[in-house]
Amino acid sequence: MPQTLSLYVENKSGVLARVAGVLSGRAFNIDSLTVAKSFDPGFSLMTVVVDVPASLTEQVIKQLSKLINVVTVTCVSDSPAVVREMVLVKIYLPDEMRSRLLQEAEIFRARVVDSAPGSFTLEATGDSDKLEAFLGVIAAYGRLEMARTGTVAMPRGASRAVAVRNPSPKVAAGGPILL
């Protein structure tokens, strides 16, 4: 079951490799990983979608939290969150199909960002399920090339994307450790 983790990290060289290393060192496959500067340029926000058995998620979070440059780790999959991904998809299709494709794109609120004889490039945003559905539909129209951003996530409401790093005050007897 893929887990979406949000990491607030110091914006320093090598941090990405450290995070990736903790996951690869335990033979977990990363489905997607995005990283960019946070509002405070000294820090970055990383969203990692990683295929971890649910029973090991807590251990992975704790191992990632041990990295000196990682300030907080939150499992976004556990709580309500806005999750988005963008895809740029170029589709090669015969002229007579162009208008029908545009109708399909409209359904998914995809925008045309480039047009050339024999091809369109569309931009679509949504959660991964929506994008999979969109790609499934338009694949019927012709050959596709695509670039996906990977998932970015933001917890809903007042809950902070960056929780308290140190889990000790929240440890409950017998229960999971809440980060």
């Binding site: 251990q59 440059n69 790093r165 889990p167 450790i177």
Partner: protein, 599 residues
Amino acid sequence: MPNGSSILLECLRREGVEVFFGYPGGVVLPIYDEMVRQKTPRHILVRHEENACFAADGFARASGRVGVCMATSGPGATNLVTGLVNAMMDSIPVVAITGQVSTKLIGNDAFQEADTVGITRPCTKHNYLVKSLADLPHAIKEAFHIASSGRPGPVLVDLPKDVLQAVWPGIESDAALKYPDFVDLPGYKPSFEGHSGQIKKAAAMIWHAQRPVIYAGGGVIASGAGALLEQLSELVEAPVNLTVMGLGAIPSDHPNCQGMLGMHGSYAANQAMVEADLLIAVGVRFDDRVTGKLEAFCKHAKIIHIDIDPAEIGKNVKVDVPIVGDCGQVLEKLNTRLADSREQSDGGLHHRESRRAWLARTEEWRRKHPYEYTDRTDEIMPQALLEEIQRATNGDAIVATDVGQHQMWAAQWLRFNRPRTWITSGGLGAMGYGLPSAIGAQFACPRDTVIALVGDGGFQMSIPELGTLASEQLPVKTIIMNNGYLGMVRQWQDLFYQGRYSSVEFGVFPDCEKLGAAYGIKGMVVRDRAVLRDALQETLAHPGPVLLDVRVSREENVYPMIPAGGALSDIILTDEDARKAATARPVPAQVGSGAGEMS
């Protein structure tokens, strides 16, 4: 004018470093040149970088302070790797300083270039590549802070040659350097105190237990909490099982001490785990060598786990009351609570008789099933050698070991009066560790007797360090338990591979009298049980280094033994039991590497 190299040495002095272990090379030449002018800290020239790291590690274990080692770029740095992983696995504070090619050359496949920070990333608690001299003092400050705080571990600082040569502007002398007095690490805030609500729960759970067992490890030693652990054991009247990393945490002669538990641990220690109804785990990580088969581990017990590393909580075993914090700070609070009469009347007194009966039962196990062997007059049994060492040192020597049979026998038969006298590669099981770590320990404790107790296999990995012993005239006593085999591998081939010995016999071993003489070290070979005691006396009485090669019985196996993947109740006490168990069991699925202990 101060430069990167002189500033580095100044930073080490500010951190209180008096001695460090290293090996020079191209890009660290500026540091070694600076050492011509600066006599402190003192540099000890070893014979291989891996041993510089092992020596720093041994220094740290014996002293409780950060051990420091240095190597050049490329091969110097890669040779440190085993030592770093060793320190990582056993949570030992080590700072490694490596040279790197000049910043302009990084990434160009320059001569002796290696991506040291990349290679050592998973081998260290943290590492640094310092690209500008201005960042150097902060990097060193942080390295020492990270290495020695929280769960200790190794930190590497990689220093390009141009950084080492750059001039530090604005000050006339190194002494004028403004060394940072704080660190700013937003992602690193180890918690020490332990949650009081959890401690309260633990206390209540302890007083409601009838068969409590304390299971303590290296965390107790790292935290200096031995006396508090002893106090806990006396308050609760509970037996204490120690991991191989925890030996010495409380004195072996303490009436509640059951010695080592796990694969080669005592019958009493392992049986207590099987029957316990409460496990008080302190500074331990539920290693597979301790737990055996997880599904069968401590089935009847609730578990309290005290550790400073939150990632250790629930990693291998589900825990009922986790307490994240420094062992010492948590135990202090826990003991205070346990000593409180109100807490005691709330269940403590109720079960006291059951707990006393339980403690008496463990005592009986200890009496009935001590470590055993049959001594002989015609050859030296390995256990007899350890008994003689114990008799000669009375548990006051610092003993550094290699990995394998001799290590396990030593863990069983030696008695430890105090912490930091048992220096052994626990987690990684790195052969070749014994002699160089003894060198580090001897520098940390110049007045103590330091013994490097090694097997004939591991010794041959560290022979070059006889050169360091000789040139420093260090009085380390190297005692080789020589059975002419890679004994632990042979034991596994004997028990689990139907006696098919493969690559476990060298056939050739140097004449240690001559080998010692070649280095100017007193060398002796002992084959006769009758002269063993005198030879040991002579070894320990000699003021300088001694190389003592003791030829022991060749095919003795280490017992008790819990087969890999077996439950603690599957304990095997004799060769005969072992052969029965082996025929009943298929060959273990996991095959060990050559590095001593196996999976």
